[in-house]
């Protein structure tokens, strides 16, 4: 067994420090060591997307990274979205469009959607469906999620999301 190391990461703008053995997954480090349990774990093999967080500006699976790899990283998790009681616009849209039921996939969905929308100013409806297929929801049937993310894209980019696909 190899010794634990002290890891410092910026989480939602705050530098937090904790100990992790080299093999500790980043998801476990966030949840169990730093107490950021908003990030959920649904499969531990990178398929379900519940553990998706934003690492250095891009969405990534925290179950497929080791905590030691995150040393010095700038991480955003679901806990950083709302400003106190004031929900993030996407969180409001999720509630409005009934994009959550049990709420287990929701943190990963939110982080996936934020990256998808903010990294692409010309998303189509199809792009949103494909983009959101990066995370699994077992409750909603996705309709509310697609609607909420579409509305968010329209808010962020100030233009309607086009219906047609742009591949081909």
């Amino acid at each position: 067994m190899t010794a634990s190391r002290t890891i410092s990461v910026s989480i939602n703008g705050e530098v937090l420090t904790g100990d992790a053995a080299p093999r500790m997954l980043l998801a476990d480090f966030l949840r169990d060591v730093l107490g950021k349990t908003g990030t959920h774990v649904g499969c531990e093999h990178g398929v379900c997307g519940a553990c998706t967080i934003i690492v250095d500006g891009v969405a990534a699976r925290s179950c497929l990274m080791f905590a030691v790899q995150a040393e010095g990283a700038d991480i955003k998790t679901v806990e950083g979205l709302a400003d106190g009681d004031d929900l993030h616009p996407l969180q409001k849209l999720f509630s409005e469009h009934r994009a959550l039921q049990c709420g287990y996939c929701t943190p990963g969905m939110l982080m996936t959607a934020i990256d998808l929308v903010e990294s692409n100013s010309s998303l189509t409806t199809e792009d949103i469906k494909v983009g959101m297929s990066a995370a699994l929801c077992r409750c909603t049937g996705y309709e509310g999620i697609i609607k909420a993310v579409t509305a968010y894209a329209e808010q962020v980019h100030g233009k309607p999301v086009r219906q047609e696909s742009d591949n081909g």
């Binding site: 929900l87 039921q101 049990c102």
Partner: protein, 789 residues
């Protein structure tokens, strides 16, 4: 209900659950961290069927950080098995079904024999899960492989026995009959005989199961937090296993990340974790990982039907006979309940005079089979609805027409089916207009005639479009009971606790709506507590599309008890007659005299025990009432589904263009929540119809142990779905509610199969098993093309 307040029932109130869940501030079992908490890893069988000769725990016990390592032999005389009969049926049902039921008890950790891949045989408790898994890997077992009983059909004649005391591997036989099926079949002008298979898939919530337990030696009590749908059942089994009074066992389901039936019964881990916490005197946590979940959490469906239908030249069905096998896996945690559902729901919305059903619940070396959203109904809907399409084919009638000709007409309501339901009451469909639902569904996909024209035109262009239909009825709101306690304390808030255990259904909101209407108070003045045995003495839980009906009924009845006191005390204080009082806007007041009233807060203070109370003679102190609502029988929800598909004839891929379900669950509490329930169910059904499958090889090895192999539908797999809610109130409860949690998941597999067959009619397609595979479709195309040459 009060006149002065807006009614909350029927409004899409924004869910009060949303805020915490959106912020990642919910508390799921996995989020819990208690001081000194230890972590469990469970060692699970990699063999389908094996005798245990020896388990060597020494190496595991030597690992730094390991607190305890145990095998089945260490627990054999310590913990009793879970009773095979977690659900029992009343005598009246038994009389009607002629059941022989010998559901085996489930040993928590077997010491003698392993019966499925994934069954626990040892466990490790350690300082963290990583170390627990390290030690678990070091546990060596000496096993003697036994021949596996691979599936239900093989089980019938297998030499091997899953349970030595169950000859023929039969755990239950059920038999039900209406009219004279034998004669009806002999005299029927036409007959259809088919075999159908509905494959095995599962609930697959995004949160796997998990249990945390903490023992308090001072009070000799234990608290168990479990990701379960049935806290009161878990309490009963934990108390029984640990020989503790139920009062000293508290079970809480915190936020639960989906259940869909998969968390709807007691599992060995619920008890094991409680035992370990007590034994070690430290909090203990076990989280099921996804691989374990796929292996070990209950599977579902997996039925094989042999059916015969008698009908005439007009397509009118006179008789249905079915013989079916349920592959129940190695145990049957909810007994013969699924098979009972299947038998009761087979005829669906159709008026069929003769019916006979024989069922065997088979033990096999597979993961135990337990109810999952639909619970026996998707299976029979598949058999019945495929049969109708085949009858239509034979008679060259439109499948829609054959449905209309056989449907129970609205004027036949209430309609006596002639079979007992699981609650022992003879089935009587309570309300609804089934043909109208089908008409609306057809309109929803653009109309039947318009579609047939489109289909013809497309065919001329070499495109294959198909229309699939599927109708069902669903007994919902089943008993035996639900409990609720309603209190008003000196804060004036209405506090409601019920035995319902939500897993995402928005119960906190929905029951706040119900209670707000019952009391005529602002919804923000209703406090709802769920899924905690310490708040309701007896409860049942959230399974089987039941909570809207049963918990609302319990809230109503317990509120009635409290209201009696409220009126008596208010009448005393206001010096008015009780009959002149009404509830209005959080107050009790004299009708027509706005200034004569007192708030519920004031009534609660007047109700306090002690020197200054203002209760009239004979009224006990406190505003608190508990009631156990026992529904007279189930309410009948129903639906008609229509979907249009297009087949890619080169790849066999099915594209669902449009899916419509007309769903009637009576009066809706919160239409947006109801819509989400039905749509979520539909997408699970589409998943089961096209993607999801728990596959075993001939050795009983599960081939789908990861999300790379078990494919859940994603956002890009979902077609446009339109759910049209019609609301025919149920006459069986004062609200008019019916249940709706499961309905959506029932029809899609057969709707897809029917649609594909409709599209491929030129090729003489028959798809009589699920899932619908692209590859099978290509084979149909090939066979059709070859026949045409």
């Amino acid at each position: 209900m009060a006149d002065t307040m807006p009614s909350y029932i029927g409004r899409s109130v924004v869910r009060r659950e949303d805020n915490r869940l959106l912020k990642g501030a919910g508390t799921f079992v996995g989020d819990m961290k208690l001081d000194g908490m230890l972590h469990v890893a469970i060692v699970r069988s990699q063999l389908a069927h094996a005798r245990i000769n020896a388990i060597d725990l020494d190496a595991a016990r030597g690992v730094d950080g390991v607190a305890l390592a145990l095998a089945g032999a260490d627990l054999k005389d310590v913990l009793p098995p879970i009773s095979g009969m977690q659900v029992t049926a009343p005598k009246t049902w038994r009389d009607g079904m002629d059941p022989r039921i010998e559901i085996p008890d489930q040993t928590l950790v077997p010491h003698d024999k392993l019966r499925y891949v994934g069954e626990p045989y040892a466990l490790v408790v350690a300082s963290d899960r990583y170390i627990a898994e390290d030690a678990a890997e070091l546990i060596e077992g000496d096993f003697e492989t036994l021949p596996p009983v691979a599936n239900a059909e093989a089980a019938v004649n297998a030499d091997a026995l899953v349970h030595d005391h169950l000859p023929g591997n039969i755990a239950a036989t059920l038999h039900a009959k209406k009219g004279d099926g034998e004669t009806a079949l002999e005299t029927a002008p036409r007959r259809l005989k088919r075999r159908y298979f509905h494959h095995r898939y599962a609930a697959m919530p995004m949160e796997c199961r998990g249990v945390v337990a903490e023992y308090d030696s001072r009070t000799d009590s234990i608290t168990v937090w479990s990701s379960t749908q049935v806290v009161h059942w878990v309490r009963r089994e934990v108390a029984n296993a640990l020989d503790m009074p139920e009062e000293r066992v508290r079970v809480v389901a915190p936020d639960v990340g989906g259940g869909f039936g998969g968390k709807g019964h007691v599992y060995p881990e619920d008890i094991l974790v409680a035992y370990l916490a007590k034994r070690l005197g430290r909090p203990v946590k076990w989280l099921e990982d996804r691989h374990e979940h796929l292996l070990n959490a209950a599977h579902s469906r997996d039925n094989l039907f042999d059916i015969e239908v008698g009908f005439d030249d007009d397509g009118k069905i006179s008789v249905v006979k079915n013989y079916f096998l349920v592959d129940s896996g190695a145990y049957s945690p909810v007994g013969a309940a699924i098979a009972g559902n299947s038998i009761a729901h087979f005829m669906g919305p159709y008026d069929i005079p003769h019916y006979e059903s024989d069922c065997k619940v088979m033990m096999t070396n597979r993961t135990p089979n337990a109810p999952y959203r639909g619970a026996g109904r998707p299976e029979v809907a598949f058999a019945m609805e495929r049969s109708i399409d085949l009858i239509a084919n034979e008679l060259e009638l439109d499948p829609a027409e054959v449905r209309f000709r056989n449907m129970i007409q609205p004027e036949q309501m209430p309609y006596a089916v002639g079979l007992p339901y699981r609650d022992g009451v003879m089935i009587e469909y309570d309300s609804g207009d089934y043909p109208e639902a089908l008409r609306k569904a057809l309109d929803g996909v653009g109309g039947l005639d318009a579609f047939r024209k489109r289909q013809k035109k497309a065919l001329a262009e070499g495109r294959y479009l198909g229309l699939g239909l599927g109708c069902y009825v669903e007994g919902t709101g089943i008993g035996p009971f639900e409990g609720a306690t309603v209190k008003i304390d000196s804060s004036g808030k209405v506090m409601v606790a019920t035995g319902a255990c939500p897993q995402g259904q928005g119960h906190e909101t929905a029951f706040a709506q119900v209670a707000a209407d019952i009391w005529g108070v602002d919804i923000d003045d209703v406090v709802v507590t769920l899924a905690d045995t310490s708040h309701v003495t007896m409860g049942y839980g959230t399974i089987a599309s039941r909570s809207a009906v049963t918990a609302s009924g319990a809230i109503q009845e317990s509120s009635d008890k409290v209201k009696e006191k409220v009126f008596a005390i208010a009448a005393n204080v206001l010096e008015a007659s009780e009959s002149d009082l009404e509830l209005r806007d959080g107050s009790v007041g004299v009708k027509g005299v706005p200034e004569m009233s007192m708030t519920l807060k004031e009534v609660a203070r007047a109700a306090l025990p002690g020197w200054i109370h203002q209760r009239p003679e004979g009224i006990e102190a406190g505003l608190e009432g508990t009631a156990y609502y026992e529904p007279p029988t189930v309410t009948w929800a129903y639906a008609a589904n229509a979907a249009i598909v297009e087949i890619d004839t080169q790849t066999g891929v099915v594209k669902i263009e449009n899916y419509v379900e007309v769903h009637d669950a009576g009066t809706l509490i919160n239409p947006a929540i109801a819509d989400g329930q039905v749509k979520g169910g539909l997408v699970q059904g589409i998943g089961g119809g096209l993607f999801e499958e728990l596959s075993y090889d001939e050795h009983g090895q599960l081939m789908t142990g990861s999300f790379m192999d078990y494919l859940l539908p994603t956002a890009s797999d979902v077609p446009p779905i339109n759910v049209i809610h019609s609301e025919t109130p149920s006459p069986r409860n004062s609200f008019g509610f019916k249940g709706l949690g499961e309905g959506g998941a029932i029809a899609p597999p057969v709707v897809i199969a029917n649609a594909v067959c409709d599209a491929l009619k030129p090729f003489g397609a028959e798809l009589n098993s699920t899932p619908v595979r692209a590859e099978d479709i290509l084979n149909i195309l090939d066979a059709g093309a070859a026949a045409a040459e």
